[in-house]
């Protein structure tokens, strides 16, 4: 039994050391799939979430102080968050089901506040999804 227990502990230590706990998300978003290979930075980000209903939320990577903002306040919110952390990477986290218009509003707001470089958060597109689409 000793080798099995050894292996068990090895795996235990591996998973313990690799686990990072994700803070509970107040806004749940189904990300669109893409074949992008770049990872979102783990720290130093400003995340603008657009949920399925087209509501806007702004937060940092901890998602702890998520605040809802309206379209009108979006520009001001981006400016104040960027002022708090000028080096942060702006990530737009849009639900795949949401109307493009809502995301376009976010991108317009980013352009208006001179945030000309930002990321769109996506999920890895699995080949399975592709074949399913082809069947359609």
């Amino acid at each position: 039994m000793t080798p099995m227990v050894d292996l068990g502990f090895l795996l235990l230590i591996f998973f313990m050391s690799t686990t990072t706990f994700k803070p509970p998300e107040r806004v749940s978003v189904a990300l669109p799939g893409s074949k992008a290979q770049v990872h979102v930075p783990e720290t130093n980000t400003i995340i603008i979430t657009v949920n399925k209903q087209g509501e806007f939320y702004i937060s940092d990577e901890n998602l702890s102080q998520t605040q809802q903002v309206t379209r009108e306040d979006l520009d001001n919110a981006i400016v104040s968050w960027r002022a708090k952390n000028p080096t942060a990477v702006v990530v737009v986290k849009g639900d795949k089901e949401v109307d493009y218009g809502s995301v376009a509003d976010v991108m317009d707001a980013l352009a208006a506040t001179k945030t000309l470089r930002f990321n769109l958060m996506t999920d890895l597109k699995k080949p399975k999804v592709d074949t399913a689409k082809k069947k359609k």
Partner: protein, 163 residues
């Protein structure tokens, strides 16, 4: 002390140093609960671990108001309609409908044909956001770096509707 021991005559089981060899008591620790706990934790961490970090597409947008003049023959316009269909028009040659699967191949072909190709992506505001990501993804895969995402105007919709 060692002197005493050495002086003492040999009797019974005694080592060279004269210490009596104690009978070893086999210590058995029941490891079952510990192993149980270890496996419990193992299962817990295995279940809660997420290896995948979300991916990102980097987007650089031009300054608002920046204008670049480009010859119309170099421009390919891709229209994403509200119902999720995609139509494209290369150098005003006329609209053609494309399917999402062949979009990447079309882009590769057109880029091959005209390396100076610039793609304008016009997405209807009521189209799904996923569609725009799909277009960007196809552009990225076709290695087209010169594109711009612009809003679809009513005039565009009228043009498409007329054809």
């Amino acid at each position: 002390m060692s002197v005493d021991v050495a002086a003492a005559p040999q009797k019974g089981k005694k080592s060279a140093l004269g210490l009596r060899k104690r009978k070893r008591v086999g210590i058995r620790i029941d490891m079952t609960p510990m192993v149980d706990l270890a496996f419990l934790l193992l299962i817990f961490f295995m279940v809660t671990t997420v290896f995948r970090r979300p991916l990102a597409m980097e987007v650089n947008v031009p300054e608002p108001g920046a204008k670049v003049e480009v010859p119309v023959s170099n421009v390919m316009t891709a229209y994403v309609m509200a119902d999720g269909t995609i139509e494209y028009d290369v150098g005003q040659r006329g609209l053609a409908e494309a399917s999402w699967e062949e979009l990447r191949d079309i882009l590769v072909l057109e880029l091959d044909y005209n390396p100076d190709l610039i793609v304008l992506v016009k997405v209807d505001r009521s189209a799904r956001y996923e569609r725009m990501v799909d277009v960007l993804d196809a552009l990225d895969e076709a290695r087209i770096s010169r594109f711009s995402v612009i809003p679809m105007t009513e005039a565009d919709k009228a043009v498409i509707g007329a054809q």
